[in-house]
Symmetry: C2
Subunit: 342 residues, 2 copies
DNA sequence: CTGAAAGCGCTAACAT
DNA sequence: ATGTTAGCGCTTTCAG
C-alpha cells in the first residue's frame, strides 16, 4: 500500500533521482533512451509524485481555500463554479469549508488553511457581512491576509484595507426599485433581511434613495426587515396583508423572501403580479423555475467567483490589485412584476 | 511574508526544535517555564506549524477528496454538508472538484488528488452512473482505490468490488409507484432520465415491477425517458398532452423533471394534482417550495454524505467495511399527488 | 526534561 | 547528459 517514490523509479531505472525528476518536470534535457525507460517505469508503477514534498520545497500548494457560510444556499455553488472555471487554467484546486455562519468555525477553518499553506483564501459571508464585527474577528482576518493572499467576496471589514470583490448591491437595488417605479408603482414596500447585516443596510439605504430620487414617499410601516428565509417572506407578507392599506409592489432583499411573499400572497388568494408586484434579488435558479417566474436582480454569481480567483491569482503573483473590484448587477425582468392594477 | 518556522521559535526560546515540537503536540513532558516561554512566542508570532511538513512525515494529510458532477445541482451540496458534518470530529477537510460530467476532468482530478495524497476519495456521479463504462475508466478508478481508500456514492462499477454507499433507488421507486396506486391510479406514466444511466434503468425496472405486482398494465407510449433537466420534463409532458389518451399520474426520475412536467401542465391549463398527479425523486429544497409542493422520494442526501465519510474513515483505519452500504429512501407526500379525478 | 540526528519525497544548484 | 548534495519544516527515536 506504500506509494512508490522517485527513489524506487530511479533505482529500477538505474539512474539518479535527479534524472527522474528531470523527466517528471521536463526541466532539462535527458537522453532519449533513459527518458523512455523512466517513462515506462512511471507507467508501470503508476507513479504519482508526492505533491506535498514538492510543495514543501516550492512553497506553494496549488490550493485555494474557500470559506462559505452555506453551500446549500444555491448562490454559493454558483460562485464556486465560477471560481473553479477560472482556476482551471492555472491548475489550482479548492479546499472548501462551510462555516454555517458560525464565527468560531470560520476561525478554525482559517487556521487549518494557514497550516495547510493554501496559496490564497476566498472568504465569503459570515463576519464580513456584519455591520459591526468584533475586533478580534477583524484582526484575525487582517493577520491572515498579511501572510496569505486573501480576498473578501461580497462583504468587507470596516477600517481595514483587505482586498474585496463585490457586486454593487446598491446599484442593484436602484435597478429594481426604478423598474417598479417605471411600471407605475408609487407605493412600494421593502421586505426581509437582518438589520445587522450590511446586505440589508446597503439595500435599505439604496431603496430610500431611489424612492427619494423619484419623489415618492417611503411608508415606514411597509419597511419590514426580518431575515433571509422563505418563512420570513411569508411572515412579513402576512403582516402586510393584515394592514388596511398595502403597497402595490414590494422589493425583497433576496429571492427566498420574495418566494415567501408570493407563496403567502397566493395562499391568501392574491394574484401575482396583478394584485402585487414582487421583485427579488440574487437570481437563484429557482427564480427562473418558480411560478410565476421571479423578476429579480442577478448578482452574476459565476462572474463573481471568476473575478475573485482572478484577483487572487494577481495577488499571488505580487501584482498590484484594486482594493475593490465591483461588478454590475443586472435586472432580470420576468413574470412577478407588472403595472399596478388600478 | 515568509512564514515563521519551528526553528525561529526554537532559536528565540533558546531551546531545540524538538522541545518546540513537544509543546506543539503535547507529546512529552516539558518544564513549565520553558513551555510557557514557547507558548508565548507562538502567540507572539502567530506561528502555525506547516501541515505539509508534518504530512510528509506522518503520511497523512487530513484531506478527503470529493469529486462531484455538478455542485449546482442542489442534491450535491446537501451530500457535501452531511460529509462535512461527519468529518468535523476527526478534523478532516475537503478538496472539492466539479467534474461537470466530463470524464477527462474526472481523471485529471483523480490524478491531482493522488498527487496531493488525500487520505480518502469520495466519488459521486459521472462514470459510476453509466450503464456501460469504458474499461480504462473503470481500471483507473480500481487502480486509484488500490492505493487510496475510495468510496463510490450512489453509483457503482460492474465487475469490480469497489466500496459503495448508495440509497436504494429501486425501493424508492417502488414507494412512489405504490403511493400512486394506493391513491387509486391505474394509468401511470414514467418521465425523464437518460437511458444509458443506471439511475434511469434501475428506476425503470422498479417501476415495471411495481406495476406488475399490482397487476397493472405498463403503457409503452407513456414511458418517456429523456434527460434530467426541467426542460426534458416539459418536453415529455408536451408529448403526453398531445396524445389522445394520457395517464392520470406520472412518476418522474427526479424533481427537476417533475417540475418541468408541472410547469408544462399548468401552462396548458391543467390543475395539479386534480388533472394529473406528479411525483418526483430526490426531495431537493425546491420540491418543498414549489407551488404545488412536490410529492417526492427523499434520498436523504445529508445522511448519504455522512455515511460515505463514516465508511471512508473506517477504511482509513483499516477496518473491514461492507461492499455496499444501502440507505432507505423515504416517501414525502405533499401536494402534487392526489386521487384521480376519474 | 531536553538535544542531536535521521528522514519523509522532492527540487535545484553545483559538479562532472 | 547525469550524479551529488543541500535543504523545505516537521516528528521521532535515541541518548543523555
Amino acid at each position: 500500500m506504500r506509494q512508490v517514490t522517485i527513489y524506487d523509479i530511479a533505482k529500477e531505472a538505474e539512474v539518479s533521482i535527479s534524472t527522474v525528476s528531470r523527466v517528471l518536470n521536463d526541466t532539462a534535457p535527458v537522453k532519449g533512451s533513459t527518458r523512455a525507460k523512466i517513462e515506462e517505469l512511471i507507467q508501470k508503477y503508476n507513479f504519482q509524485p508526492n505533491a506535498m514534498a514538492r510543495s514543501l520545497l516550492k512553497q506553494e500548494t496549488g490550493i485555494i481555500g474557500v470559506i462559505v457560510p452555506d453551500l446549500t444556499n444555491p448562490f454559493f455553488p454558483e460562485v464556486f463554479a465560477g471560481a473553479e472555471h477560472e482556476a482551471q487554467q492555472s491548475g489550482h484546486t479548492f479546499l472548501l469549508s462551510n462555516s454555517i455562519g458560525d464565527y468560531a468555525k470560520e476561525s478554525e477553518y482559517l487556521s487549518i488553511m494557514r497550516e495547510k499553506r493554501v496559496d490564497g483564501i476566498m472568504f465569503l459571508g459570515g463576519r464580513i457581512n456584519l455591520r459591526h464585527c468584533e475586533e478580534h474577528l477583524v484582526q484575525e482576518l487582517v493577520q491572515c491576509a498579511s501572510v496569505i493572499p486573501t480576498v473578501l467576496v461580497n462583504g468587507g471589514l470596516r477600517n481595514t484595507d483587505l482586498i474585496r470583490v463585490a457586486t454593487d448591491e446598491s446599484a442593484g437595488t436602484a435597478l429594481a426599485v426604478r423598474h417598479l417605479i417605471e411600471l407605475g408603482h408609487t407605493e412600494i414596500g421593502f421586505i426581509g433581511g437582518e438589520s445587522n447585516m450590511t446586505t440589508t443596510s446597503i439595500k435599505l439605504r439604496a431603496f430610500r434613495k431611489a424612492m427619494k430620487d423619484a419623489e415618492l414617499e417611503v411608508r415606514e410601516e411597509w419597511m419590514l426587515p426580518d431575515s433571509f428565509s422563505i418563512d420570513s417572506g411569508k411572515r412579513q407578507m402576512l403582516n402586510l396583508l393584515a394592514m388596511k392599506e398595502r403597497p402595490t409592489a414590494v422589493f425583497c432583499v433576496n429571492d427566498y423572501t420574495a418566494i415567501g411573499v408570493i407563496k403567502a400572497g397566493v395562499e391568501a388568494g392574491l394574484s401575482i403580479p396583478d394584485d402585487m408586484s414582487v421583485v427579488g434579488f440574487d437570481d437563484i435558479p429557482l427564480a427562473h423555475h418558480f411560478i410565476p417566474e421571479l423578476t429579480t436582480v442577478s448578482q452574476q454569481a459565476h462572474e463573481l467567483g471568476r473575478t475573485a480567483v482572478k484577483v487572487l491569482k494577481a495577488m499571488m503573483s505580487n501584482e498590484k490589485v484594486k482594493k475593490l473590484t465591483s461588478l454590475e448587477p443586472q435586472l432580470v425582468v420576468r413574470q412577478s412584476s407588472g403595472a399596478p392594477m388600478r
